[in-house]
């Protein structure tokens, strides 16, 4: 346990005395004199726990795991209600989930904590609305795209962090103006012809 708790200077790799940790301010490494700050927490000293092992059913009338008939159930899945053995019971932020529900939740984006990536449609819409103005004939194609992306952003989950809808609205307004501009241009050309 104690062997994993040693801390070293990130530059010279020399082992540092405990007195240099959690000082709250940068200190000099005694070996290389580089400025460092080490903040450690009790998790550093926590040994890796042993993996869960499912207990076999030894008596009649004991609920068994949905996935392992011979193993004793310890908890129901918080999502689907199936009984789970200690091996299948996945502790997820205080919830008990079975592997299938965890995988489904991740795939469908139902468990926000498992989401690793999101597409930000409002930013894409804003780019599609504004950037092509530099090469304005392109807006004939990009304006409808900007409108589509802006509308889509209203119905798709946005970023998990705080974010306003201003980009989507600006993209929508510019997209509509560009489409309107092209419509007027075509009408004028048609009348001229």
């Amino acid at each position: 346990m104690s062997s994993v708790a040693a801390v070293a200077c990130p530059r010279c790799q020399n082992s540092l005395p405990g007195a240099l940790c959690n000082t709250g301010a940068p200190v000099s490494c005694p070996a290389c004199e580089s400025t460092i700050m080490l903040t450690v927490f009790p998790a550093l000293f926590k040994p890796a726990g042993p993996g869960a092992a499912a207990e076999a059913i030894l008596e009649e009338g004991v609920s068994s795991c949905f996935y392992h008939e011979q193993k004793k159930a310890v908890a129901p899945c918080s999502a689907c209600g199936r009984f789970l053995c200690a091996l299948c019971d996945l502790d997820f932020n205080g919830r008990h989930l079975c592997p299938a529900c965890l995988q489904t939740g991740k795939k469908k984006g139902q468990i926000q904590e498992l989401e690793n990536r999101r597409t930000i449609y409002d930013s894409a819409a804003l780019s599609a609305a504004l950037l092509p103005l530099l090469v304005w004939p392109v807006t004939l194609f990009t304006a409808p795209l900007a409108i589509f992306l802006a509308i889509r952003s209203f119905f798709c989950p946005s970023s998990v962090v705080p974010r306003t809808r201003i980009r989507a609205w600006v993209a929508l307004v510019f997209g509509l103006l560009e489409v309107g501009g092209w419509a007027v241009a075509f009408i004028v050309m048609a009348r001229g012809a």
Binding site: G18, N22, E113, T119, S123
Partner: protein, 185 residues
């Protein structure tokens, strides 16, 4: 139905990577690192109960940029003096931009490399690229992490680290692992 308040609070600082900006957010029980490429966001969560420590190391990046902006500013100023006239004004303008960048860089203070350590990975936190900001943010996060893990007396931490110092392994000596796949939460 009332809209739920967003659980994330932005922490100061913006870092940059290869074609992306990196920001750090604090939630009730974890830190969220958001890497944004403009159209997609990638999330990396560090739960307070899993954080083993922060490693901050002062870097020379800031000093190097000071040198770059200073040299470019000086070259433009020399060019402005040599050329003179209307073209000289343009050169003075460019030199002024470099001078402004130099002032901003100096005002930001010394730069650093801040890393967060958990049992399974050590990740850089590019948004904490300034020493002053890193120290402040870590001090701000420390009570939350200690509340999640339970505080250990400073003497106990010192004793355990000193005990381990005599052992062969060193946890912060391991190289930074930058895995391609974002970790599961």
């Amino acid at each position: 139905m009332a809209k739920l308040p967003n659980p994330y609070r932005r922490l100061p600082g913006t870092g940059s990577g290869m074609f992306e900006t990196v920001r750090l957010y604090q939630a009730a029980d974890h830190l969220l690192q958001v890497s944004s490429s403009g159209y997609t966001e990638t999330y990396r969560r560090f739960y307070f109960r899993d954080i083993q420590g922060f490693i901050v190391n002062e870097s020379v990046k800031g000093r190097n940029w000071n040198g770059v902006w200073g040299i470019l500013g000086a070259i433009c100023a020399i060019a402005a003096i040599q050329v003179g006239g209307a073209a000289g004004i343009v050169w003075w303008g460019i030199a002024g931009i470099f001078l402004l960048l130099l002032i901003i860089n100096i005002a930001g203070g010394p730069t650093c490399v801040c890393q967060i350590r958990t049992a399974v990975q050590t990740r850089p936190l590019p948004s904490l690229g300034r020493l002053r900001r890193a120290v402040k943010t870590i001090a701000q996060l420390r009570p939350h992490i200690e509340a999640a893990q339970g505080a250990l007396p400073a003497e106990e931490i010192t004793r355990r680290i000193d005990d381990a110092r005599r052992g062969p392994a060193s946890v912060f000596a391991s190289p930074v692992s930058v895995s391609a796949d974002p970790p599961a939460a």
